[in-house]
Symmetry: D2
Subunit: 345 residues, 4 copies
Amino acid sequence: MDVAIIGATGYGGVELIRLLQGHPQVRLAYLSSESFAGQRLCDVYPHLAGIGTKLQALDPAMVADQCQLALLALPAGRSLALAPVLLEAGLRVVDVSPDFRLRDPALYPAWYGFEHTRPDLLQEAAFGLPEWYGEAIAGARLVAAPGCYSTAALLALAPLVAERLVDPDDIIGDGISGLSGAGRTALRLPYHFPEADEDVSAYSVGGHRHLPEIIQGLAEVGKATARVTFIPHLVPMSRGILMTLYARPAEGVEVGALRTCLEAAYAGARFVQVLPEGVWPHTKWTTGTNHCFLGVGADRSTGRAVIVAAIDNLGKGMAGQMVQCLNLMLGLDETTALTTAAAYP
Amino acid sequence: MDVAIIGATGYGGVELIRLLQGHPQVRLAYLSSESFAGQRLCDVYPHLAGIGTKLQALDPAMVADQCQLALLALPAGRSLALAPVLLEAGLRVVDVSPDFRLRDPALYPAWYGFEHTRPDLLQEAAFGLPEWYGEAIAGARLVAAPGCYSTAALLALAPLVAERLVDPDDIIGDGISGLSGAGRTALRLPYHFPEADEDVSAYSVGGHRHLPEIIQGLAEVGKATARVTFIPHLVPMSRGILMTLYARPAEGVEVGALRTCLEAAYAGARFVQVLPEGVWPHTKWTTGTNHCFLGVGADRSTGRAVIVAAIDNLGKGMAGQMVQCLNLMLGLDETTALTTAAAYP
Amino acid sequence: MDVAIIGATGYGGVELIRLLQGHPQVRLAYLSSESFAGQRLCDVYPHLAGIGTKLQALDPAMVADQCQLALLALPAGRSLALAPVLLEAGLRVVDVSPDFRLRDPALYPAWYGFEHTRPDLLQEAAFGLPEWYGEAIAGARLVAAPGCYSTAALLALAPLVAERLVDPDDIIGDGISGLSGAGRTALRLPYHFPEADEDVSAYSVGGHRHLPEIIQGLAEVGKATARVTFIPHLVPMSRGILMTLYARPAEGVEVGALRTCLEAAYAGARFVQVLPEGVWPHTKWTTGTNHCFLGVGADRSTGRAVIVAAIDNLGKGMAGQMVQCLNLMLGLDETTALTTAAAYP
Amino acid sequence: MDVAIIGATGYGGVELIRLLQGHPQVRLAYLSSESFAGQRLCDVYPHLAGIGTKLQALDPAMVADQCQLALLALPAGRSLALAPVLLEAGLRVVDVSPDFRLRDPALYPAWYGFEHTRPDLLQEAAFGLPEWYGEAIAGARLVAAPGCYSTAALLALAPLVAERLVDPDDIIGDGISGLSGAGRTALRLPYHFPEADEDVSAYSVGGHRHLPEIIQGLAEVGKATARVTFIPHLVPMSRGILMTLYARPAEGVEVGALRTCLEAAYAGARFVQVLPEGVWPHTKWTTGTNHCFLGVGADRSTGRAVIVAAIDNLGKGMAGQMVQCLNLMLGLDETTALTTAAAYP
């Protein structure tokens, strides 16, 4: 299978390359990069010493000519025009931008500042969260991989909401993220080392863009209208997202039932581990992997349920999940090229 | 004024020394240290090159003999026996342990595992949060300085609860802390650099010990029974606490009213700054200082109020606050020895 | 091939497990741990969710019974007694401790504080630096893998000394290391997060234990008596070693000749990359891998040669190198299970 | 004394403000900023909540009109034109750029890429290292404060070279720096958090710009032509420089003599501490201060002397030293406004 990575030199792109290097069914046939077109990958990233592939300016016709599947790792708003071209040329597409994540086109102007011109593809796109949309992904032409925070929040909450074990109208998601989520191109002051080091802050307090995905996912999987407050924070590390989710258990529901529900939901899941009672996840456990660890408990003073999810924002939150989707699309074991454990510490 | 620091070589103690070195009314007459008794301070901490004072094993009689005021920076359970001895000898005491923070002696067995033998002192002790208990502190024999998380939470919430602008029964406090809060003596695995670095995790999910102080403070200041879920997290930095507080505004209350309330509450406060709309605090702004920065806003999708408080856990969360209390007790300007801004970055 | 890891829960051990999980010819048949005997690996390290293997107290007879090869990841002084037992039982052994690295038994009392009781094995042991001792390793019963600093220093210097391109009597090695080299068990103050964070310091200035290995390696490979000053430093990161080596070029030798020499020496080496002119290595490029990157240049004001080597202290500096040795011993491609690139960033 | 800070919003400028806020003889009368002219300082840096001073675009006439002394914290090449204007208007100037550090104008094209148009001022300027040029500074119109690496290197080496205790022709300086030295404006990839975090690298290997200052300083103070190899490294922290200096003791000179020499040289120095035998400095000891700690020893295998110097690059390496110079120029105790110890940890 000849695969293209569009946006190969961003952090998501280079993580895709790392993972797919070890994939037995994938050949990296086309690597596009705006910033480094014409250079060899190993000159841009000397640690990829073995990969002399030349980076190309994006030419959709060439992609279509040379590949059967394209992985798009572009900023918001760029896939909207590109994906249709590739689809029409017969390629299958996994897109990690938000451009095809939201079913409702009306959300785009409000959250992303552009009109959506392809509502048909919003309907068609499979939401790239394999634990919940595996079948749709397997057969999809277009997969819209969810955002990193959304992945963590939905894995933690979807089963509980679906089973009506928590009140979907009273959910708080407190996210803590490393800084690689900012990407590599945007050299902005908040990510300047001396500013970000030894600092914690909240951001996007008015409303983070991953919120509508979370609400949509809970609606689809949990069949519930959800009301969620979500505040993300930046902390001085590179990779990792910890989502602490606060929810009110439904009348009479004990924390044991929450755990049982999550364990059942992910009994067959290869990348989601529900931790034993009293064990809480660390982002370090996920670095470089496609794993999600879930801790479940309750605050003893209010009875509020607390679910904590840890993922690598570039792994299960991005490139790992894209590879997992690709595996399903190709009919492969979903763990192909995703088996290595986190390098610890 | 001759002052003793009991527990002078822990992180709280050494921060007290740093601050009080520049205090015009204070002479550090007695520095106790269990681990380093007999050594000179500058041999234990070479960066304090100028201070050749010998560290002493704790001898309450000598403390009483040589000092008029004692600052206790000991672990939980140690001040309970010591403070009464010093008080009886006529000293005034500022204690930063939890031993005299809670009015209700019944809380001690549950939260700290010991019976409280001096309920009279629990009643007498002033709660060392100067913005709310300034008068009591000024006249107190015994001041019980609050915990770091409690300081941040109470500064953010107390005015809003007191004015009934938020529902006191539906509060979530999500805390993010650096690792100096763990102290210097406890060399445990979670604080081992390779474990803590590049990691985020939640802890004390079942109930953190600062919770009863927060509830007590809201009850006293806010005259309300509060129900609070509080989950702390550790992140890879040394100093700083960010508390993100989620509360439901009372019927008809807009975010502007919350801001107005906080601004009014802290109009005369020298160490609490309410930030302008859209500005959110960074812990880096507080490093080494006694400042607290408050950001106020609302999640646009649910209307829930979000207040974010940043302090230095060793500053306003510990040593800075103790010095502020001491200043009040001595009838000095409360900013004495606390005027230096954070070293940025 | 049934393999034992002795010391499986230290940082070296757990990295061996991570690498060998993906090794097609190796079955992890025996995992010993002093601290966690009786527990399952996945309970000690929840991120290794898939590995339920029970950790065992060390029983050499059982190791001998169940395995054909043992990887020893023990602190200094412990392999000296164990390795001979395993060898006599017919196992092959890769030891990463210093116990069999030095040919001269007289060095042990001075550098390690114990008398060496098996000088015969010091003679027999292959020095586990595959780029220089590959043939010996392939046929060895006992391999003594070098220290992390030694690996970096020898890869950088050995070819230049062997070719007499630099003066072996005037070498300085300035090492900068992350903190995982301290191991996991030793919870000492210098590795306590608040102490190590935002700090740099030199240590072992009087003489670091890796120095005699470096000198021995230069003598064996370079056939030269070398005089080396080596000072290591600790910096706030987990993994990675950067060695900056200062050497005086021999009369008439230009920096181009140094580069040519290194390129020739490592032309066939799969894990050593000599970087182009003006490119200097980053430790980040090596994280989790068995790679070594070498930069070569000269200080323009003195003409002194500067060679900079970057490795992961737990990769090429420890577990990766042990796996590379194991591959050679089993007659496999030396890159088996070592092909994944660094997770970047 | 009305003082101007030119370049008030860079890291050096904001550190000057922090220090001078507590200075009894200084009024910050004029703060210039290119990036933030027209804004209030407290809006740019909310942690400086008390300082509502408006930032101004640079107008030398206004500076001259309002101030008696100017502190220039500008990038290389900018003071060359500004300082003469201010001097002619009768101000005294402390400049922290390299524009007036080097006596020999011929060095500027080679090292800084511009012709020097005021060789007269190069001769006139006092080199702003108070421990060695205190008298000149006290009487100077123009002080050129040295670079951060130079400060550390010269404090460590100057006495030894002056006393001929080490060979001035065989010196290596290995520098390790935090990232605040990069400044705040230059948002370049190497300082992007995900790149710099968990990484160490060497830079400016061909020749760092501080080298000619070091050589000039050794020539002036040590009266010796020196040959120095100097390689700096970046490590993941914000503040702090550690310089490890390798030098060959002169014939018959023992390490004890080196220590004695340094102790004697700095016996009266308020900011330089020579540490006892076996104690090596940590950059953490200097954070936010004007202190320099020196460790002295010898590598036991080669006899080479090793001197390690720790400073805060923004303290003794920049703003602290400028304030120390200002104090001398004003005839004040040189420790004025510089007495606070490092916030530890």
